[in-house]
């Protein structure tokens, strides 16, 4: 690869200020905040328009240079760190909120719009509407989140955030721009079908199928009142029962669980955090009463919570990055695994055992996705970024946890390279064959985030 020539050509596409191969920039883009080892990057580029993005893809395809699309860079599992070098495409300059449709309730946005930006814009200009918000810092992009099957705020009620995609505009590996969903037929980006649903190809494929330039994401009515109802459960075995009872009520907007050994008073308990909403305080009070009853019947007890803690959970987005500072070491990664409900108690028990084995304070959590259809389980490992052995320890813990999740019938979410291989080992061979065949058709030169989802032939 003639790097000088490539740089000149990239500069012609986006201008000198928005492409770099300076060592200081490459150093930053060769790592992410998780536990993955750094991997070399050749260029970083920041397109402003879909035409610029298209020209970058065409150039990369002609020169057979890997492309790695990047949103907020916060997956923690190294998905935006190039595996085989190449160009990191930082999408942040494509940051237009193009349309808010108040009737069909969607936001059409460019791929670089952050969750913070959309949340703030709606709060200011459309206070009756709310977007789904992941448990991630506000610099996470909306597109990045939905494209990894992200979950978070509103997931209990409406499913994972990937399910909230109405439409995509995608630059395919050959440079073609393709619209998916109702927007391929209609000026309205209001629905995913009824046509063959190809959007799923681009979710959790980690940029291997193309680069998303626009996304239409569903918005939801914002109730006037919102409250958290905390419960304490003594025995993790009771988790399925309490979650079934909570979802039976139909009243919870979101439900998350947490279990951690520190501070000491939390040890041994599972915290149940249910969000209720309403149009009046009376309605909220009534919901709280219902939940107190549900908790009691499910061997849990209602916990009155100081405002200090309550406000932490009412904040949007929740400050989940706090986990990175538990040990004052600046490092944090988790296995998020989608699990069947019946396996959650065992996941808590064995997850805690793995943490202890690796001398990490057990910090586990879970979130309901679409009722009890799916539970995303978090096994969190904070580490000291200044200590390479501690980082290696965290990587080993993560790997063992990925194995556990698969053993229990779950699937690691946004898995790092090693986790992807564990998933592929268990995957139906014909699924892999189909996936690889589609990938080869779309990207015969294998320029799109190569190294991820690599199916060994």
């Amino acid at each position: 690869m003639d790097k000088n020539k490539i740089l000149r050509n990239l500069e012609k596409i986006v201008g000198k200020d928005f492409v770099s191969n300076k060592p200081e920039d490459l150093y930053i883009y060769s790592q992410d905040p998780g536990a993955s080892l750094s991997r070399p990057t050749d260029f970083v580029i920041m397109p402003k328009t879909v035409e610029e993005l298209q020209n970058i893809v065409k150039l990369a395809n002609a020169e057979k240079i890997p492309l790695v699309p990047m949103g907020g860079g916060l997956t923690l599992s190294g998905l935006v760190i190039p595996v085989k070098g190449g160009i990191v495409v930082d999408m942040k300059r494509m940051n237009k909120i193009i349309e808010i449709n108040e009737y069909s309730k969607y936001a059409l946005i460019e791929a670089g719009v952050t969750t913070g930006q959309l949340l703030s814009y709606l709060n200011e200009s459309y206070p009756n509407l709310q977007p789904p918000v992941p448990d991630a810092p506000p610099s996470a992009t909306v597109a990045g989140n939905v494209l990894i099957h992200g979950s978070g705020y509103l997931s209990q009620k409406y499913g994972d955030h990937g399910a909230m995609i109405n439409g995509l505009e995608v630059v395919l590996p050959n440079g073609d721009i393709c619209k998916l969903g109702s927007c391929s037929i209609s000026p309205f980006w209001f629905a995913r079908g009824p046509i063959p649903d190809l959007i799923g190809l681009f979710i959790s494929s980690f940029g291997t199928m193309g680069i998303i330039s626009k996304v239409s994401i569903q918005l939801f009515d914002k109730p006037k009142f919102r409250e958290v109802v905390f419960g304490l459960l003594k025995d993790p075995k009771d988790i399925p029962n309490i979650l079934l009872k909570i979802t039976e009520t139909g009243l919870a907007e979101d439900v998350i669980l947490g279990m951690q050994d520190k501070p000491d008073w939390m040890k041994g308990y599972v915290f149940v955090i249910a969000y209720v909403t309403g149009e009046s305080q009376e309605e909220i009070d009534s919901h709280i009463k219902t939940f107190k009853r549900v908790y009691r019947k499910a061997n849990a007890r209602y916990m009155k919570t100081p405002d200090r803690i309550r406000n932490v959970y009412l904040e949007k987005p929740i400050f989940a990055a706090a986990a990175a500072d538990y040990r004052k070491g600046g490092g944090f990664e988790y296995v998020g695994a989608n699990m069947p409900l019946e396996k959650i108690p065992e996941a808590y028990k064995r997850g805690a055992e793995i943490s202890k084995k690796y001398r990490i304070v057990p910090t586990l959590g879970s979130r309901l996705i679409g009722g009890t259809h799916n539970i995303v389980m978090f096994f969190s490992y904070s580490f000291n970024r200044a200590d390479t052995k501690d980082m290696e320890n965290a990587r080993n813990a993560l790997h063992e946890t990925n194995k556990l999740a698969l053993e229990l019938g779950g699937i690691p979410w946004k898995a790092e390279l090693a986790g992807q291989q564990l998933i592929l080992e268990k995957m139906d061979p014909n699924y892999k064959k189909l996936f690889n065949s589609i990938r080869n058709t779309l990207d015969p030169n294998r320029i799109m985030n190569p190294g991820n989802w690599e199916v060994n032939q």
């Binding site: 770099s20 060592p23 200081e24 930053i28 930082d90 930006q117 703030s120 709060n123 810092p137 600046g330």
Partner: protein
């Protein structure tokens, strides 16, 4: 990054032991409500490298030996007005307070390693020049003439610390302050002041700082003063915070002029008899706002001026957009510096104000430069200057 710790963050904590705590979560880039990127450097350059997180990771990379100093890294470290938006928005307690300190100490390391940019070096050269003792390269004024003109005593309770920008670039502000102090019958004098060291501390060129501080402290003590007053937000922050960090031995109190004005108004000793019939928006200087936490006093003073209509810009107080002049950016990146101010003026335009007031001569200079360059049509003025225009009576 070896060698002795140059700025100790606290007695028990060395910056090298905490820099890796940055997770690069990115809260530091935003306004408080995430409506926009509020870090001037990140907004300009946009690469992650230019966020505070990017800088801290580069600094950690140098500490850990993964990367070595070069001009590019030094440029990233210097391309930051140290406005403190990151300290305001970083969520990690007992870490966020030190972000600007860490950037400044990294600049000191850049200097030690021979990577201080040339323009910033020139600033130190002028300041150290025994003819100047100021970053503007103006012949040092020992203020004898001013003392004569205003009939000031040799010793007094207060010293008015003029500051280099007011004394050599914003003399109208200096003279307005002198007239105000005289009207208020404050027992004050002037000293032969040398630079407070704000520009050289901000650019990491800290070698002569203790000498400058010791000289100024000695002058103030010689004047018999127990109180220092200044109209410069930069001098105020530096004397009040940085001199102590550098181990200065002083027990005088430090005031910004606006605090005196507020006190006189509260005590009913200052009466403003004429009206100031303008719509004014107040720009929070970073030195005084995020770095010292003074937000309401200037607003309370503005609101007590008869006739004034004080309106707020969208980003105000802790959320204020920096003027772009601080941290050595005005000298190191003059065009970008004025672009940052232009963004502030566009925001001011949205308020309907015709006047932008501030209480920092450095902000005043940069906002004025942008006002002129982009024909924005504002009057940019310091609070003490428009008080000077009014009919006031001080008892």
């Amino acid at each position: 990054m070896g060698g002795e710790s140059i700025i100790t963050l606290s007695e028990k904590q060395d910056w090298r032991d905490i820099v890796h705590r940055c997770f690069r979560c990115g809260y530091c880039k935003f306004t408080l409500e995430y409506s926009d990127f509020n870090c001037p450097s990140y907004k300009k350059y946009q690469f992650e490298t230019y966020s505070t997180g990017g800088r801290l990771w580069l600094i950690y990379g140098i500490i850990s030996g993964e990367i070595q100093w070069n001009e590019g890294i030094a440029n990233v470290i210097y391309a930051c007005p140290t406005c403190g938006n990151c300290t305001e928005n970083c969520r990690f307690e007992k870490f966020n307070d030190f972000l600007v300190d860490i950037i400044e100490v990294a600049r000191a390391e850049a200097v030690k390693n021979g990577f201080c940019p040339e323009k910033q070096k020139a600033l130190l050269k002028r300041t150290e020049n025994t003819e100047y003792y100021n970053p503007y390269g103006e012949k040092n004024s020992d203020n004898t003439e001013l003392k004569k003109k205003y009939n000031l005593p040799g010793k007094a309770e207060w010293v008015y610390f003029i500051g280099c920008t007011s004394n050599y670039r914003q003399q109208n502000l200096r003279d307005a302050t002198l007239r105000f102090l005289k009207k208020a019958k404050i027992d004050f004098t002037l000293i032969d002041e040398h630079c407070c060291c704000s520009p050289i501390i901000r650019t990491g060129q800290i070698k002569p700082v203790n000498d400058f501080i010791n000289y100024n402290v000695a002058q103030i003590k010689n004047a018999g003063a127990t109180k220092i007053i200044t109209s410069c937000a930069g001098c105020y922050r530096t004397i009040k915070k940085d001199w102590l960090k550098f181990g200065a031995d002083y027990d005088f109190e430090v005031f910004h002029t606006v605090e005196l004005v507020k006190q006189l108004l509260d005590e009913d000793r200052l009466k403003i008899k004429s009206e100031y019939k303008n719509t004014v928006t107040y720009h929070d200087p970073c030195h005084l706002g995020r770095h010292v936490g003074m937000y309401e006093i200037p607003r309370e003073v503005h609101n007590k001026i008869p006739g004034i209509k004080l309106v707020e810009m969208r980003r105000n107080r802790e959320n204020a957009w920096c003027c772009g002049a601080g941290g050595g950016v005005k000298i190191g990146y003059p065009e970008w510096s004025v672009e940052v101010s232009q963004e502030r003026l566009i925001e001011a335009k949205e308020t309907g104000a015709s006047v932008i007031s501030s209480i920092c001569p450095f902000c005043r200079t940069n906002l004025s430069d942008a006002n002129e360059k982009y024909n924005m049509g504002f009057e940019v003025i310091d609070l003490i200057e428009f008080l000077d225009q009014l009919d006031i009576e001080i008892n």
